[in-house]
Symmetry: C2
Subunit: 526 residues, 2 copies
């Protein structure tokens, strides 16, 4: 039986607050630093590793984090979650996204259905559909093959699938797994849909409409936008559209779609990349086998998150180092810095995943908490970021913890040797150099050229960004966010903070405004 | 004569610290709120406006900001800058980016050249070159027209030009100003160059190599990458490449390029979008007249920044409200939220502009400062962000000031009417609703659905995103960052914090490593 308590009521947290701080610059110097890099590493799935040598922790501090994990029952809470407890207490829902990629514990039945069978059933429906599209059994009105897939969705129906598509596009082209180009329409800004429609051959495009509720304003508006364009092109929209939605949504039984694939209320948008939300577009773009590999990578990483030993559970360790940095050291942000152009939009997905899950001020019982919760998350790929905002990271007045990601090999494999090294080696040399520069700093007589160091980072390393490693990466961060939410005793699975804006926007469109809202509306001629 | 003093030595700053705080939720309610929205607005160039009604300020506080502007000689410092004083004291350089778009004060001569004439001369050289490319006087080896321009550059040679290209692409297509597609190669990750080269017709592509020093590792590596691809395609690289560099760089006189266009040491990379760095690619993509309009918009906005009345100087007001939020209210970040898909990469440019300029811990004399300087800047377009990280902005434990941007009209003009409103109206309704939701909040018996409000934002409004309004927007933020740097008494125009990483990366590639650096290097097989 797990107990849900606020972080500041736990003895192990008080011990963490009182623990001796680590001087990172010192710890990372000389032979001691070399030992840290060798030892402070946790294997992840698919040959990856989480290395925390450059975090301001030591063995004594990790022991205190382990005690916190135990006292807060973090792994037990995860176990309760995947065994079907109603962990999303706000919305009174199960939290089932892990089940889309594997079954970690008990059979979970909800609404009279075995959830694992439900998700694998939908995955199989998608696989059959994608194969028929690829082999020409499902074609457009003129009997021709579809060449492009366009996802229409916003938030979790956009950021995760889009980031994963971009992450795997080059890999798929290089390995012969590229089936169809994917595009994404998300914003209600009409220029978004117009520009995408202007860039594709609509007659050979298949549109995937993604909305769990079937009522998302932006997505339904963009659906109409697309249907309008199809009609103007003399095409039958129902031959160009599939829906991804819940079985209870108005879209589920509509004849407007070639097919409908289902998710359910037990998977939040930001956790839905492994469900039909990511499954349809990624299976169409790269083939269902690639999507299955991606799920396998995520499932393998999930298993590691069940380990009660924090030194063998990378997501748990990452989560608690983050809590230490946030609640003891007082750092407000985390930057995610993948040294991989393919991961250019992964930080944007993690931004939603983390900030929408843990940007809360009340605990799971609705009581205000007396400590800070989720940090701001942002990031851009390296080496680009080095020529942009790293100045502040190195010499700014605030300390921003960093999450590096790096791979030994490129995806495409084309490279040039300039000045004795390949581009890939230069890329890796840069991430390695940055970790040490941030941790150790460098003194200088000219204070303008002085680096204080003591700026913590961790790095996730891998051999190559593939469907499996991408799945493992995604799982790692999903589980990290979950463990942090448990630690802060908040509900990471609802998002009530997005509601007020929706309500007021409806008022504006209905011209039911007064005061400031009316004057702003007038400004835009609404 | 201006005097350079630390912020915490100024009496006007102490007065600001002691000033009565404004209850924003109260101030923005009822008729009082309506009045604020009407009155708390400053005209910008090109029909735009900076509205600060939803900032936690009132007339008394603005008066205190005005006193701070006066005591810190902020506008005088700007005047000194554009009249040719060596404001970049670290590197002992003039700061001349304003001169690329107009002459605000004295003739400035440096290195024996009238700087205004130098910049307009380069702009004219680019215009002539672009016209010849467009009309077929400059063609590829087979005598065919170029269809694509590819910018090779990183940091300031990438983020600004790329953001502006994306901002104006749809506008240009809709208005018949679209000449050539532009692509960008920035990252040393070999997959970046490979993917771009795989997506274009290299035989009809013109490459613009941008490096002020002519020594940027990433850019020279990517140049070799591209030359290699051209050679493999049987093409003569020198017929496909132009250089943008300084006259003293090794690239300036090379026969490897069709043409060379010059910038100089008086323009930092992040401030270089209005120089040849942005000029070449944007003039090729949209025509030189469009680039000239963009410069005109920036010049018009620059003029407003010379106004000593803070209520008529939007950049100065924005800057000092930001200082108040950072140094008195203690907020660590600012989110930039354009309700315009076309501005999707503008926050990434502002992230460099702001964080690289003001992420400093020593003042312009090299002495440590006792207060925080530049905040973290990040952002994504609305409405997308609403379905992502806005949860934390509304209900998280930290307050993040917000900078909205919104336009009455879309760029392309295609739209659909759904449920009584167009997509553009829905877009505008959402930004309006968010401002009020953040400021006023909403009580609820269920604390999970409670919004505390008091979350400050400002909005820049305009009729449409065009070359002129884009220029004005860019100038606004450049000048805001400059005024904040003056206020913090730091040098916003150098970036010593990027050096250490470069030095260590070279060591890694030369295998001159030990300790932690060696073990990390081994991890990546370097």
């Amino acid at each position: 039986m797990v107990s849900w308590n606020n972080l500041d009521t736990l003895g192990s947290f008080k011990a963490l607050e009182d623990a001796k701080k680590v001087n990172l610059a010192e710890a990372m110097s000389g032979a001691c630093g070399a030992d840290r890099v060798k030892n402070y590493t946790v294997p992840m799935a698919e040959g990856m590793a989480y290395n925390y040598a450059a975090k301001a922790v030591d063995d004594a501090l990790i022991d205190k984090l382990a005690a916190l994990a135990d006292e807060a029952n973090l792994v037990d809470k995860f176990e309760a979650l995947y065994n079907g407890e109603v962990v999303n207490t706000g919305e009174k829902r199960l939290v089932m996204h892990h089940m889309t990629r594997g079954q970690l514990g008990s059979v979970v039945t909800a609404d009279g259905v075995n959830k694992r069978e439900f998700y694998t059933g939908e995955q199989e429906k998608i696989a059959q559909f994608a194969k028929k599209v690829h082999n020409g059994e499902i074609v457009n009105g003129a009997g021709e093959k579809f060449t492009t897939v366009v996802q229409i969705g916003i938030g979790g129906s956009d950021l995760g699938p889009r980031a994963i598509y971009i992450a795997l596009e080059n890999w798929a082209r290089a390995t012969g797994n590229f089936k169809m180009e994917a595009k994404f329409i998300s914003n209600v800004d009409p220029d978004d849909a117009s520009a995408v429609l202007g860039s594709i051959d609509v007659a050979h495009s298949l549109f995937v409409l993604v909305s769990k509720s079937g009522t998302t304003l932006e997505t339904l508006t963009n659906e109409s936008f697309v249907k309008d364009a199809l009609k103007k092109a003399g095409l039958d929209a129902s031959k160009h559209m599939v829906a991804v939605t819940s079985q209870t949504s108005p879209l589920a039984q509509s004849s407007d779609y070639l097919a409908a694939f289902f998710m359910d209320d037990y998977i939040g948008g930001r956790f839905s990349s492994c469900s039909a939300v990511g499954g349809a577009v990624l299976s169409l773009a790269f083939g269902p086998e690639v999507f299955a590999d991606f799920l396998d990578g995520a499932a393998a990483e999930d298993k590691l998150a069940t380990n009660k030993d924090i030194r063998k559970n990378p997501a748990l360790l990452d989560a608690l180092i983050g809590v230490y940095e946030r609640n003891v050291l007082g750092y407000p942000c985390t930057a995610v810095l993948p040294y991989s152009q393919a991961l250019s939009r992964f930080p944007a997905h993690l931004q939603q995943l983390d900030m929408e899950s843990n940007g809360k001020s009340v605990n799971r019982f609705g009581e205000p908490v007396n400590y800070v919760t989720g940090p701001v998350i942002y990031g851009e790929p390296g080496t680009n970021g080095q020529h942009s905002f790293y100045q502040l990271l190195h010499q700014g007045t605030d300390i921003i913890p960093l999450q590096f990601i790096g791979f030994k090999n490129s995806q495409i494999g084309n490279d040039v040797d300039i000045q004795g090294s390949t581009s890939q080696k230069k890329l890796c040399a840069n991430v390695v150099a940055q970790i040490v520069a941030f941790a150790c700093g460098k003194d200088d007589d000219n204070s303008n050229k002085r680096f204080a160091g003591n700026r913590p980072s961790s790095i996730i390393t891998g051999d190559k960004l593939t469907p499996k490693t991408m799945g493992a990466l995604l799982s790692h961060f999903e589980n990290k966010v979950m463990f942090q939410g448990f630690t802060w005793n908040i509900n990471s699975f609802d998002q009530e903070g997005v509601q007020l804006g929706k309500v007021l926007a409806k008022k504006v469109l209905a011209h039911k405004t007064e005061g400031a809202l009316k004057v702003y509306s007038d400004m835009f001629g609404i």
